[in-house]
């Protein structure tokens, strides 16, 4: 009677039922939920007045005040004990106490840091050597460049000097104001015939016994220069 089973099909079980539902779909009702609040009072209980539970006021006050404190303390002790227990289990499992393990770890870490600094020092040395080499090479290149510039300058100056020399030599035959009259006289006295031929190849045919002596010399020199490389190529 106090334990009433009510079977129902699974799909008719309401989702928000207060009664626990077994895996098979049975709704199982217990004594606690037999009488609802809205149900009428039993005949034997009409007129019953509840006697309030006896409370010692001093004890009650003390409890209220000290309950939180007590809870805090107890929970702290409990968690401490649990942690201790766990730690001991871990230590026994690992075979080494926690302090020693942490000390070992610290030692290893310091060793690794030392190794790292050594590696860094090696890399630094390599880098510095490389930079020194590069600086040397740069210096040499700069020096070479300077030397080259000097050489070029010297060559240029030499060229200029030659030009100046040539001009100086040529200037000996320049016509200046001093020897203007003489040159005019000489030119008038000379008979330079401009009637000479020139063929397709640019070769002059100068007349015999002319005053074009300089031109003749130059042309002969040019011919000689042209003939020389041809001979060289033939022999090669």
């Amino acid at each position: 009677m106090f334990q009433a089973f009510k079977t129902s099909l699974c799909r008719f079980i309401p989702q928000c039922t207060n009664e626990p539902v077994l895996q098979t779909g049975c709704v199982y009702q217990t004594v606690r939920w037999r009488k609802r609040r809205t149900d009428p009072i039993a005949k034997s209980k009409i007129g019953r007045v509840r006697v309030p539970t006896p409370i010692d006021p001093a004890e009650y006050k003390f409890s209220l005040e000290k309950w939180d404190e007590y809870n805090i303390l107890i929970n702290a002790i409990r968690s401490h004990c649990i942690q201790d227990h766990r730690r001991k289990n871990k230590e026994t499992a690992a075979g080494v106490s926690l302090e020693e393990q942490s000390r070992k770890d610290e030692e290893e870490w310091q060793k690794l840091l030392l190794w790292n600094t050594e590696e860094n020092a090696k890399t630094r040395q390599l880098r510095e050597a490389r930079l020194r080499e590069e600086a040397k090479r740069e210096e040499e290149e700069k020096l070479q460049a300077l030397i080259q510039i000097e050489k070029e300058e010297a060559a240029w100056l030499a060229e200029l000097e030659e030009l100046v020399k040539k001009e100086k030599e040529a200037s000996k035959s320049y016509i200046t104001l001093e020897n203007l009259d003489e040159n005019i006289e000489a030119a008038l006295a000379e008979e330079k015939s401009y009637l000479f031929g020139i063929d397709k190849n640019g070769k002059f045919t100068l007349p015999e016994n002319t005053a074009w002596t300089e031109l003749k010399e130059r042309l002969e020199q040019k011919e000689r220069q042209q003939n020389e490389p041809q001979e060289k190529t033939e022999t090669a």
Binding site: L22, Q23, T30, L112, L113, W115, N116, R124, R130
Partner: protein
């Protein structure tokens, strides 16, 4: 669907899972300084390109930052828990040697990793019940006797 980017294989799970450097728990930030040009920075560039994704994948709670074209020589600087700093000079090193260096200095050793793996297995082991495990009581397993706090056990 299509593979995006320069070397899209780096974005595949298969590639990322191949990373084998697990950094220590004390390492919080890893910064890498390198230049985009220069023969001495090539190793650092390769490290950032090929190995950093793998490293980040395996250490997702570590901040990894790169700085480009700030210093003449490349280096890695790591910031640890208590404000400590670790500097690794990676001038003219290949990316494999850099990775090895990082693994040796900042990586978890094999025994630590195996211990962690064991602990994880313990957690995933379905035979264990308790507060830190998947199920607190066997009554939570479907097909077993329901919790006596909800359904009283039969009298027999």
């Amino acid at each position: 669907m299509p593979m995006k980017g320069k070397f899209p294989l780096r974005r595949t799970l298969r590639y990322l899972e191949r990373g084998n450097v697990y950094l220590r728990d004390t390492v919080k930030i890893v910064t890498i300084n390198y230049n985009t040009l220069g023969e001495t920075h090539k190793g650092a560039r390769d490290f950032v390109f090929y190995n950093l994704p793998q490293l980040q994948y395996k250490n997702q709670n570590v901040q990894m930052q790169t700085f480009k074209n700030l210093t003449p020589s490349p280096f890695i600087r790591c910031f640890l828990n208590d404000g400590d700093e670790v500097l690794i000079d990676i001038d003219s090193k290949s990316n494999t040697s850099i990775l090895e260096h990082v693994k040796k200095l900042l990586g978890k050793s094999e025994d630590i990793l195996s211990a962690e793996r064991k602990a994880r297995e313990k957690k995933t082991n379905p035979a264990n019940f308790g507060r830190e495990f998947a199920r607190e009581c066997i009554c939570q397993v479907p097909g077993q006797v329901p919790c006596p706090s909800v359904v009283p056990l039969p009298k027999n």
